[in-house]
């Protein structure tokens, strides 16, 4: 019999082991690292102040008074309803190439929305219908660039973003939004414009119970200034297949000293359309491990592609590429 005396009371070794086991189990059960994380965000009142007013030259030369965004941000509400989803309203307002700028006032923000794409017709249809309805109520100047991978190689999301960024730079867009085709914003207050710091926009995704799995997540929908994107040499071109490229982007930003920011959860709600899970890239962890060595050599400056076609559709600028 092993009996241990603590103070005046004596305990049997089995009792102590049981107690220790229970306490360890309890601590393990409540350890926070296995769960979603809280994150810092810009308070509601500061949102408008944090947005960078920057436009393309063709907007600058326009006459008229500036659009007001205060009401939009303060009066943020749920807008993902049938009215916006089912039908494209006032399609005559949209210029060829999927470009729009408000007619009654001068937009303060110009944004290129870059959407990598391959073989998801249904989602693209839903995306374009909703996004054009959604973005026009924000009174910004925007253009949707759809970059489609034409070849049969595994989907290379990062390279398509690099190509999209290069094309958007040709059109003088100062702000890029790297957007997945299956994500759609739910709140009207998530202004599609850039902040000084790169911004992770879909931090409250319904698929993840409106929580953020980890703070370093920087994928899905991301707003970044064109100059910053060029400064970090874009994204890595080596990630074929699903996963890893967004973490690589985050690494690049942190190595250049860029901190990311987010809007409050009530502004950052997104919905994810249903789709079959992509084939994960088995090599992604190895690539990510050595990411820091490739920052200067792999990215916009090592971009190789052939543009098969560029066409201005009524709702988007279609860039068909072979990587």
């Amino acid at each position: 019999m092993i009996v241990i005396k603590i103070g005046s009371r004596s305990f049997h070794i089995y009792e102590l082991l049981l107690l220790g086991g229970c306490i360890t189990l309890f601590i393990y059960l409540v350890l926070p690292y296995r769960f979603a994380s809280h994150y810092d965000y810009i308070p509601d009142d500061d949102i408008e102040r944090m947005l960078l007013p920057q436009v393309t030259p063709n907007v600058t030369h326009q006459q008229g008074f500036d659009c007001s965004y205060e009401e939009l941000i303060i009066g943020s509400r749920f807008v993902y309803d049938a009215h916006f989803r089912e039908r494209l309203l006032h399609s005559e307002q949209i210029q060829p190439g999927g470009e729009y700028q408000p007619e009654h006032c001068r937009a303060r923000y110009s944004t290129a929305i870059i959407v990598p794409y391959r073989q998801r017709e249904e989602q693209l249809h839903a995306f374009l219908t909703y996004m054009h309805n959604y973005l026009r109520q924000q009174l910004i100047h925007y253009r949707i660039f759809l970059v489609e991978q034409y070849d049969r190689k595994p989907f290379n999301r990062a390279t398509l973003f690099n190509i999209g960024a290069q094309v958007a730079a040709e059109y003088d867009f100062p702000c890029l939004i790297l957007h997945d085709v299956d994500l759609m914003p739910l709140n009207s207050g998530q202004i599609y414009a850039c902040t000084e710091r790169p911004r992770h926009m879909c931090s409250a995704l319904d698929q993840w119970r409106f929580h953020l799995p980890y703070r370093g997540l920087f994928g899905g929908v991301v707003a970044i200034n064109t100059a910053q994107f060029q400064m970090i040499n874009g994204m890595s071109n080596l990630y074929h297949g699903w996963g890893g490229e967004d973490d690589d982007l985050y690494e690049r930003l942190s190595s250049h000293g860029y901190d990311i920011c987010r809007f409050p959860p009530a502004y950052s709600e997104y919905t994810m359309l249903k789709h079959k899970p992509e084939v994960p890239n088995a090599n992604r962890n190895a690539l990510l491990h050595a990411a820091a060595l490739r920052f200067d050599t792999d990215g916009l400056n090592s971009l190789v592609f052939t543009e098969v076609e560029r066409r201005l559709h009524s709702l988007f600028t279609h860039i068909l590429v072979e990587t």
């Binding site: 049997h12 089995y14 059960l29 409540v30 769960f35 319904d206 993840w208 119970r209």
Partner: protein, 418 residues
């Protein structure tokens, strides 16, 4: 090896050793008073050897040997425990296999899950009815409860995508579950104190001469058995003569007698004076103070001292199950936002059509469904208990006063249709 020594030594030595030296956690005293080690469970069973030999050689097997073999099997099914290995009944082990098998099958597809859940409901109702009718003291339901809880925790911790849950949500769930477990633990711990002990009251010996005095021991009771039996019969005769005993069964008899004679309660089965509102529990074999009911799930009686703990345990268990099911379902299904309260979103599952495509999601979904089933059962029980409690009754009194009048036709259906 101590068991080797025990096996080779004489029987007398063994017994003396068993009584003098303490057992290690893997040793026990077998049914033939020999000291045995748990690792030797497959050795040294003569009846089993004999049965096997005769089975192979096609000779007649005697019933005595089969019984001996079964007794040895039951005796050797033990788990290591501090102070000697403890015997576990097969009924207590069965849920450990049935529950995971059931949950695993339910994770395969929606139809299997539906059929299994319905079977489970039917099986549980049948089992409880059977246990109630035969007044069996069984650990099966308690074991079922413990294993269900264990597998629920395991599935929640390892299969549900936890990265989608906030640490606070998990903390609340863990705390409520722990509170519920503690309440049920206290309920069970306090249950023996509900027994009406021998020290209670005095018997009016002159009026009811046959009934043993409450403070008497068992031996005295045995001596007076004959007298008691006659008193028992006379009391029952009284009941038959004076009360229109339509639905008050044997358990209600003692109250009936006390009401009639305006005497202290007397339990004929225990042959004791009992406090008012106490009743005899056929399963526990004792009178229970302020008897509410016998809980087969906890394998103990709910009475004066533990009914508060029991109610608190039911409430917290209900909350924990609902919260756990909500967290699991919203994590594996596509959720929608009901309201964002103080920055915390409250979600409900929206579209669960894809959960069965993946086994991990499927089993999480099955466990959540199982939790909801349990929650609805507990909810029903809780409502009944709270309603009775509000009226100041115990469940036992509540049933006795309301059910016979309400269900007269139903309970008399056999005679009605004759």
């Amino acid at each position: 090896m101590p068991n080797n020594v025990a096996a080779t030594g004489t029987k007398r030595n063994n017994v003396s050793r068993a009584t003098t030296t303490a057992l290690c956690c893997c040793e026990y005293i077998a049914h033939d008073n020999e000291r045995f080690h748990i690792l030797g469970c497959c050795c040294n069973c003569e009846d089993f050897d004999l049965v096997c030999t005769r089975l192979i050689t096609c000779r007649r097997i005697e019933q005595r040997n089969i019984d001996g073999m079964l007794i040895a099997f039951q005796d050797r099914l033990r788990i290591p425990w501090h102070g000697g290995a403890k015997r576990v009944s097969p009924a207590a082990l069965a849920p450990g296999l049935i529950v995971p098998l059931m949950l695993g099958l339910a994770a395969l597809n929606a139809n299997t899950a539906m059929v299994l859940m319905l079977t489970l409901v039917g099986f549980t109702i049948w089992g409880l009815r059977l246990a109630e009718r035969t007044a069996t003291r069984t650990t099966f339901f308690l074991s079922w409860l413990i294993f269900s809880l264990l597998y629920m925790i395991i599935i929640f911790e390892f299969e549900v995508p936890l990265l989608e849950l906030l640490p606070e949500e998990n903390c609340i769930l863990v705390l409520i579950s722990a509170a519920s477990l503690y309440c049920f633990f206290r309920t069970k711990q306090l249950a023996p104190q509900n027994f009406v002990t021998a020290q209670y009251g005095t018997t009016p010996r002159d009026e009811l001469p046959g009934i043993a005095e409450a403070s008497s021991g068992e031996e005295q009771a045995e001596q007076q058995e004959h007298e008691a039996a006659t008193a028992h019969i006379s009391l029952q005769m009284d009941n038959v003569l004076n009360i229109d005993d339509d639905d008050l069964g044997g358990a209600g008899g003692s109250e009936g007698a006390s009401l009639m004679h305006s005497q202290p309660n007397i339990c004929e089965i225990c042959r004791k004076c009992t406090p008012t509102r106490s009743s005899h529990c056929a399963v526990c074999g004792s009178c229970i103070k302020r008897y509410s009911h016998h809980s087969f799930w906890l394998n103990c009686c709910i009475g004066e001292l533990n009914y508060r703990w029991y109610l608190l345990g039911l409430t917290t268990a209900e909350l924990a199950l609902l919260l756990g099911a909500n967290l699991t379902l919203t994590a594996v299904c596509h959720p929608f936002l009901v309201v964002r309260f103080l920055g915390v979103p409250f979600l409900l599952p929206d579209d669960c059509s894809e959960v069965f495509e993946d086994f991990e999601l499927g089993i999480s979904f099955a466990v959540a469904g199982y939790a909801l089933l349990m929650a609805s059962y507990i909810g029903f029980d809780l409502m009944r208990q709270l309603y009775a409690w509000r009226r100041g009754n115990t469940l036992h009194e509540f049933k006795r006063t309301t059910l016979p009048s309400r269900n007269r036709l139903w309970s008399n259906r056999r005679t009605f249709f004759k």
